[in-house]
């Protein structure tokens, strides 16, 4: 699913250059839910941004779903993201003017689904995250946890192969965080994979693998049976 080799990232130039990632190589196969942990500033966000094709590393290569992101153009990268990658963020980033179902459906439309199909698919995705009775609510009328579920539904509705998340539970209380993580766990099957950045140790039990980053280097990489 993901194959990164010798990835290095340096922000800025000359005297201002900061090396953030050093020769990071990881392979994440299908069916794996990987957690990325590490202290603040260790380069976690930078790494997943590179894996998702949002930024281009200054060294190394990245392959996602058979596409070598590091040799594609901006537009081609966008195309890969659109077809294969779902995103969840710390904030829900939902359009406040749109209902839950419209927020999900409009992203499906951008991903190429015809209008007729987008509505039912969006409703089904929201039902899967337990919001069948909140379809017509706007973000302002939903709780933080419900909004994040809508964000998860939006990311997963188009059935991406890869889910990328950054601190997706850090704005939520413990119980709600676990619920969101359960949704992610349910998404990862034989065909799909997820890379989730977190500081929260309680989420570790959901993971197949825990990768720890420090100062831009992978310092530990352990596989486990999720419980």
């Amino acid at each position: 699913m993901i194959f990164a080799s010798g990835v290095g990232m340096t922000y800025g130039k000359a005297a201002l250059a900061t090396r953030v990632l050093h020769d990071v190589s990881i392979a994440i196969p299908r069916g794996q839910l990987a957690l990325l942990t590490g202290p603040s500033g260790s380069g976690k966000t930078t790494l997943i941004s590179i894996l998702a094709g949002l930024i281009r590393p200054t060294a190394g290569s990245v392959d996602v779903c058979g596409h070598r992101l590091t040799s594609l153009t901006e537009a081609e990268n966008a195309r890969v993201r659109r077809d294969h990658v779902g995103f969840v963020f710390q904030a829900d980033n939902l359009f406040p003017a749109l209902t839950a179902v419209a927020n999900v459906a409009e992203v499906l439309r951008l991903r190429g689904l015809p209008r007729k199909a987008a509505g039912p698919v969006a409703r089904a995705a929201l039902a899967r995250v337990g919001l069948a009775d909140r379809l017509e609510h706007r973000p302002g009328e939903l709780s933080g946890g419900q909004r994040q579920r809508v964000a998860v539904a939006r990311a997963l509705a188009s059935r991406p192969s890869l889910l990328i998340g950054d601190e997706i539970t850090s704005a939520l209380d413990g119980a709600t965080a676990l619920e969101i993580m359960q949704l992610v766990r349910a998404f990862v099957t034989g065909d799909t994979a997820a890379v989730i950045v977190t500081h929260d140790h309680r989420l570790e039990r959901f993971a197949d693998r825990i990768i720890r980053l420090e100062d831009g280097r992978i310092v530990s990489d352990t596989s486990q049976e999720p419980s």
Binding site: A78, R81, R82, F89, A91, N93, A97, L98, R109, L110
Partner: protein, 374 residues
């Protein structure tokens, strides 16, 4: 994207109202100013247009219809003798002075013309018939000028001291006003010559109806050999006259300035609104970009909003312009709202909204998808 764009616009009611008001204001101002401009043009050339003809013969050096020396009495025969001239019609257009009952004097313009079929002067009568002017020393006065000329409200038959002669009001016109608001008095050509002391067959202009429009250059060339005569195409003469008044008086510039002001105010209001809508949704838009939306798809966020504002604001502005048109008609001003004015005015509004969206579109193009993780 249309749904995201319009619902986001409607979600911020205050911004929506401000922007619609801005576009409506701009559209209204642009339309009314353009309409007044064409109204002034029409007013300044109304008599030429009404008299018609293919070519106009005038004294050499004449720059506009309002200031022209009378032609020599023989010119009528001269122009009628030209091949291809089907008819030559006398037009008398002259300044004259009036002594009012109170003793004061005022200037008027005395107008008479041999009409083409269906083109009788004057063309809009409030009281009386065109034939009422056939009696001796009869003139028509506009209803709006009665007070100024100290004439009674029921003016038919009232005497006027015109060029030291006594004439009588034979008919009252409605809404025939010059650009300069100097009163137009209409008479039969024969009576006008008597009042002005012109010889029989004398005229200020000759309007020529040609057998074929194609022979205009030949007729023109032939008559222009005469040292005292100038020949103009009718449309050309209309343009010269309206340019003299509407541009030369500064009225055109004033109207253009007001229209531009409306345009700029609208531009700023709409630009501000679109930008603040884009700015306040930049996180969500960056999210869509991360999810693979192209720059063009994201720009549609702004463009749909701009298009909606142009449409709704433009329609409201047009409605207001119609209202204003009726309102100013009551004070004798004409606002022309024909297809050209509406097309050009609404075209300007579309351009305005397009310009107003530029900054926001640039903002969207600069959005970095990677920023959504921050």
């Amino acid at each position: 994207m249309i749904r995201i764009a319009l619902q986001s616009l409607f979600f911020e009611r205050g911004k929506l109202l401000a922007a619609v008001a801005g576009v409506a204001f701009a559209a209204n101002l642009v339309l009314v100013q353009a309409g007044l401009f064409f109204g002034f043009q029409r007013a300044s050339t109304a008599v030429i247009t009404r008299v018609g003809g293919d070519l106009w013969v005038m004294a050499r050096g004449t720059a506009l219809v309002d200031f022209a020396d009378p032609l020599a009495p023989g010119v009528g025969d001269l122009v009628r003798a030209q091949p291809c001239v089907e008819r030559a019609r006398a037009v008398i257009f002259s300044w004259a002075s009036i002594r009012k009952p109170s003793g004061g004097i005022d200037n008027v313009q005395l107008i008479a013309a041999e009409a083409r079929p269906g083109g009788a002067l004057p063309w809009a009568l409030a009281t009386g018939l065109p034939s009422d002017l056939r009696g001796p020393m009869r003139v028509a006065v506009d209803a709006a000028d009665l007070a100024r000329l100290e004439l009674p409200a029921s003016a038919i038959g009232a005497p006027i001291e015109l060029q030291d002669r006594t004439v009588h009001v034979g008919a009252v016109t409605r809404g025939i006003r010059s650009f300069t608001v100097v009163p137009y008095l209409f008479a039969e050509p024969h009576e006008a010559r008597r009042i002005l002391g012109l010889a029989d067959g004398q005229a200020t202009f000759w309007a020529l109806d040609l057998a074929r429009p194609g022979c205009a250059p030949a007729v023109r060339a032939s008559l222009e050999r005469h040292p005292d005569l100038a020949i103009r195409d009718r449309a050309e003469f209309e343009a010269m006259t309206s340019r003299y008044w509407v541009i030369g008086s500064g009225a055109g510039a004033t109207l253009a300035f007001a229209a531009m002001l409306g345009f700029i105010v609208g531009l700023v209001v709409v630009g501000q609104t679109l930008y603040s809508l884009t700015e306040s949704r930049s996180r969500e838009l960056a999210t869509l970009k991360a999810m693979g939306a192209s720059g063009r798809e994201l720009a549609a966020f702004v463009l749909w909003q701009a298009g909606f504002l142009a449409l709704v604001g433009g329609a409201i502005g047009l409605g207001c312009a119609y209202g204003l048109k009726l309102l100013v008609l009551t004070i004798g001003l004409t606002v022309v709202l024909d297809g050209t004015v509406i097309g050009a005015g609404l075209g300007a509004i579309v351009v305005m909204c397009a310009l107003a969206s530029l900054a926001s579109v640039r903002r969207i193009h600069k959005l970095e998808a990677a920023k959504v993780f921050k």
